[in-house]
Amino acid sequence: MSLALIAALPFLGALLPGLMIRAGKNACALVTGSVTALALLMLGLNAPAVLRGEVVQTRIEWIPSLGLNANFFLDGLGLLFAGLILGIGLLIILYARFYLAKSDPMGQFYTYLMLFQGAMVGIVLSDNILLLLVFWELTSLSSFLLIGYWKHLPEGRQGARMALTVTGGGGLAMIAGMLILGNIAGSYDLSVILQNKEAIQASDWYLPALILILLGCFTKSAQFPFHFWLPHAMAAPTPVSAYLHSATMVKAGLFLMARMWPVLSGTPEWFYIVATTGLITMVMAAKIALFKDDLKALLAFSTVSHLGLITMLLGFGTAEAATVAVFHIINHATFKAALFMSAGIVDHEAHTRDLKRLGGLRTLMPITFTIVTIASLSMAGIPPLNGFLSKELMLEEAAHTAWMANPWLIGVLATIGALFSVAYSFRFIAHAFLGPVRSDYPAKPHDPGFGLWAAPALLACLVILIGLFPMLTAAWLVNAAASAVTGAPVAVKITHWHGLYAPALWMSLAAIGGGLMALGLHPRLMALWTATPRPEAKRIFDGLMEPFATLAGRIANGLHDGALTRYIAIGTLAIAAVCYYAFDTGTHAIGTRDLMPVPPVPALGWLSLVLATLAIVIFHRNRLLTLVLVGIVGLMVSVGFAYFSAPDLALTQISVEVATIILMLLALNFLPKATPVESAPLRRTWDGAIAVIAGVGIAALAYALMTRDPAFQAISDFHITNSKPGGGGTNIVNVILVDFRGYDTFGEIIVLGIAALVIFALTEALLRAGPANDRLLAWKPDQRRAGDRHPMMLVVATRVILPIALMVGFFIFLRGHNEPGGGFIAGLIVAIALVMQYMASGFAWTAARQKVDYHALIACGVLIAAATGIGAWFNGLPFLTSAFGYFTIWPLEEFELATALLFDIGVFLTVLGAVMLALASLSRIGLRAGETVNTQPFDIDPSEGRTLNSEEAR
């Protein structure tokens, strides 16, 4: 359970920032941080077992028939990544608290961040590849929100869109690859797939699966030629860049390659695709990074380059190279996160991150300078920092790997990549911090407060510690993770000195020397760079996307033009076409069932229904008349239910009709009383034709179904047999509602409650200051009004009928389990009884006597229903299992008590509250339109036989 909880915690935590921001930014950051810290702690509790070599597992069945299970497992690799994600996540939360400006909505930021964190943790802990894909797509979506966080910046929005397109597209390819892989292995569980190396590599589908999965990995990890999205994602706030591009998002691709390493690697295909791509990416991106003036762009390309480095190492396919890759993942995360945060600090304090406008910050920002120096030297691979250690190991591996039987190619290119890496790292230090102090900074730079530099400083300390004592600080984690990647125990030996005969030493020296030289020649190289034409990735991307966007726009706007009529027409025609196809290609014979006799009275009812419907079509522009005709339809439908042996439905329909008419009339008061003619005759003919097609189709379908026996066995038998013994009631309809399908009913009352609350909220919004409110205030009734607001006869009649109606409601409620009735109908009846009082004596008079809030009624109803359902848990039964028993209390006869009755009370309260809230909300609009408020039940004083004057009546 605990692993699922670790993955779930960030998602649950995502709910908190939005609430806590009301308590202030510190509280918001603190709560967000605590959730992450808790997840990290739970991970830490699992760490000892993992380091002993065990694999911690949590298995939850989700949809076993699809092979989709919420299975999680934690091995060394998962531990490493989850630790990075949560640990650096914690630092980012701290950093972001001080980085974000006052105007930035911080609650939103933390919510996005936590969503992203949860998705990442989900990826690295998933044991099921389908589950992994779900989390994979979630990272694409949540990173879209994060990158586009500054919605006012067009670059932010475009960068977010580009990142989503590229990584989302790769994700789609990966879904296909994973499905193929799962099919070959016969299971979607990683732990099973990882055991099936031979079967997978021998399969004809190995290459397609490999390419598709690698497409997903390469797009996510910004490998050539998909690297272009990453620099554009730099438009995000720096905490996002630091998080996404140092430890998390872009490492997801690496993670997956490492995860799949045991089954996919070791073949020539793997080597040539992965190692070559990594090599090209590493060298190319490092070169570009040298010529970027924007600090974050420099870091972005350096990130791409380092990702290429790790990809290349994984591509080599040897256990040693994979171990180095794991080690470099740790090192890169530490120094790159520190550098991104420092770049953010420079931007924050100097208001620019353009290297051309910086320089001389060394004395102005000594703390930042120290952090940047440590991290940059590590990035450059200068001893004794941690970047040096992994780079030496990388060069060593590169020197020993041949490409197409060429023994020195990879070594040379890797050295060149390292050379550029040295150059841009030193350039970061030299051009931003060294040199003379300038006088033209956009803002006066100074070191930030502790909150902002604490996180990068901590990372810089790690850079030094891992650099000085690698065996003590990092080797255990590298061993655990590398063992998990390679599937064999790894005992790494990391040293600073590999001896004079190690090629890595000379390659390293060449890189440092060459790098310093390149930095010295930078102005000249820069001029050359500017002079050479280069493909502009964004322009190509936009050009590629443009036709698709136009096509999508044309389709979407054609189908979805905002007119409801069009959606309905398209939907209806599509369904009709499909049905016609089925009819045309299938066999069809006339049904064999005998038709029922049609006595004259039901025939009359049928005729009324048809005539009323036709009349509605003819007179629909007169809205009041239409409502009267709808009354006929409702009446006939209700009595039809009663005639066709559905008394429960009849009762419900009768009361629903009343509530509907009242609701419509309330709304009609503020609407035009006639519908204007808006469409041309041709259009109306066309629409009429569609309506006739749909109507005739439905009628034919109903006729076809009712004149033959069902193709499948009806489920009625089950309900009839089990209703009394299983549910304890003889009214099967009610037992279905509260017991067999109680879960559905539970969902429905929640929906009903939400709908009523939405009506309330919309009315509230309408009554706030705004154009709608102004129109209401200026409202003039469009018809002459009769003088008697509250006729005494009506008032008295409704008062008399109130207790009777309540009694009937109570009766209907109680008998519901065994006879037609139940909570839903009872709720409607009581609501009608109460609405009568509103109609007779007015809103204010009634509201003053209303003791219970309708919101509370809805809440009580849902809570009671939920509590009844949960009650079953205490008996060890599933949610909403009902229990019942028979009791005798003198002088009553034996009667039954069932938990379903409690559930029905919940239904009753929710229905009552929802109907009343909806009606009351609508009638409040009338109050705003300048209606007078009365506190007396009616406008005359019957004891004196006179009309109340306006003073008394108010």
């Binding site: 009275v601 009041l624 009595v639 009242i662 006879e819």
Partner: protein, 90 residues
């Protein structure tokens, strides 16, 4: 025996009444006439339900009749208030 004839006669009468109400809803000098006709339709339907119950000897639809009797007039009141005052809950 006589009950059957009586029931047939009653069905005929209320059925005719229903048909005439229907005519009144469609052809009427004003909205109030239509509303009243609809209200009378409810009464007739109520009677038909009870008659049907008597004929089949079943009480299962009695509550439907009860509910029609109790709430049927509420719609009528609502229509009337709308015609008279515009707003049905003031």
């Amino acid at each position: 025996m006589i009950l059957n004839y009586a029931l047939d006669f009653a069905f005929l009468c209320f059925g005719l009444g229903l048909a005439m109400n229907l005519y009144r809803v469609f052809r009427a000098p004003g909205v109030p006439d239509r509303i009243l006709a609809l209200d009378t339709m409810v009464i007739n339907v109520l009677a038909l339900i009870v008659l049907y119950g008597v004929r089949t000897g079943s009480g299962v639809n009695f509550e439907a009749a009860l509910l029609f009797a109790m709430t049927g007039f509420v719609s009528t009141v609502a229509y009337c208030k709308f015609v008279l005052r515009g707003d049905i809950i003031e």
